[in-house]
Amino acid sequence: MGTNQSLIRALRNGSQADIARAITLIEKNDENMSEFLKLLYEEDTTPVPLIGLTGFGGAGKSSLVGVLAESLLKLGKRIGIMAVDPTSPKSGGALLGDRIRLQHLFPNENLFFRSFANKGSLGGLSPLLMESVKILEVAGFDYIFLETVGIGQSEVDITHFADVVVLVLSPGLGDEIQFLKGGIMEIADILVMNKMDMPSANVSLAALEAYARLLDEPPKVVPVSAIERRNIDVLLFEINDCYGRKQESHELEQIRKQRNRALYHSWMMQMLEPILDQCYSEGEVPYIAAKTFVDSIGRCLNEY
């Protein structure tokens, strides 16, 4: 009991060592975790903007987060960054290389960066990521950035539950933009064309703008260059502006409610995973086995 309480107290003071410790506690599914989470959710926190950045590998998401963080740090803001990379299905290991792009900003007491391996849990969105957001909120950060290579598996990608969703593209995508049309393009608040320093980037930008205009609610298109730090202030303005509008229209409340529901789902899936396998044996009709299991839960719920 005592240790959890002192951990929460240290979090309130924004201690980096304790932020890391708290995230690890959830990562390792520590025996103290459930009490810790209960205490964590008793904390009064002012909502912190959660900015999701997603896009193809190599589009420049990490570089962009780096320059955004750099600008905000200069304004005296405290920045939390979470970056997710895929786990190799073969070895179960992961190469987490996003830090490389912003290591030059360290050492820094106002910048916290954590890399995550996407273990591909059954519920999709990993509870660890969402609880880490909560931890960073309690620790009093001013902005939280979340980087994912999240194109494709739309509904389960945590980026879709961010307050502001930024899709990062780079020149030369051509057909791929079209391929994206159905999914993330529609939920992105801001479309960024990065690497505008590259030759012929204008052609890709024009194509992106043309696509954006076709959408029901055309998102803002912002051309930038992370390397040359071009237009970063404009992107920052658009992010803040989008957040402000969603706050006024109470859309943020909706997003946070959905986020909690999604988190509940993903915890549930994680907890069910080990039992699910126990309730199926070879030779059973898959549908019948599943239905029998779910019906029995239904009966328990009625009595409950």
């Binding site: 890391a20 290389g97 960066f113």
Partner: protein
Amino acid sequence: MGRKIVVAKPGLDGHDRQAKVIARVLKDNGYDVVYTGIRQTPSQIAQTVLQESADVVVLNNLSGAHLELFPETAKRIRELGLNPFIIGTGVIPPEDQEELLKKGLDVVFGPGTPPQTIVEAIKQWEQTNP
């Protein structure tokens, strides 16, 4: 529970081929590997180890500055109250290996060490640190 490893390059040498090979082999052995990139200072590495809650740190330096940089990095890490398994790699002659072991490193490997040897050292450490 996959262990987390930080692979870091302290110092000014810009050759990261070896560090990248180590990172990849560790990944292929099921570890979550955070790679910092080149030209890291000891305090940058220490803060990385803290933020990532790393269990293991692999330092790699090819410039010959390991005698200053490795102990300094290990010291910074331990000053933060952390106690990861710290491995030194690079162009380290045998006499320097002895000295580094006295100055805060847990294992040191010289030139030509196959990455798999590093994996074995980590696996051995894991057995005594569940």
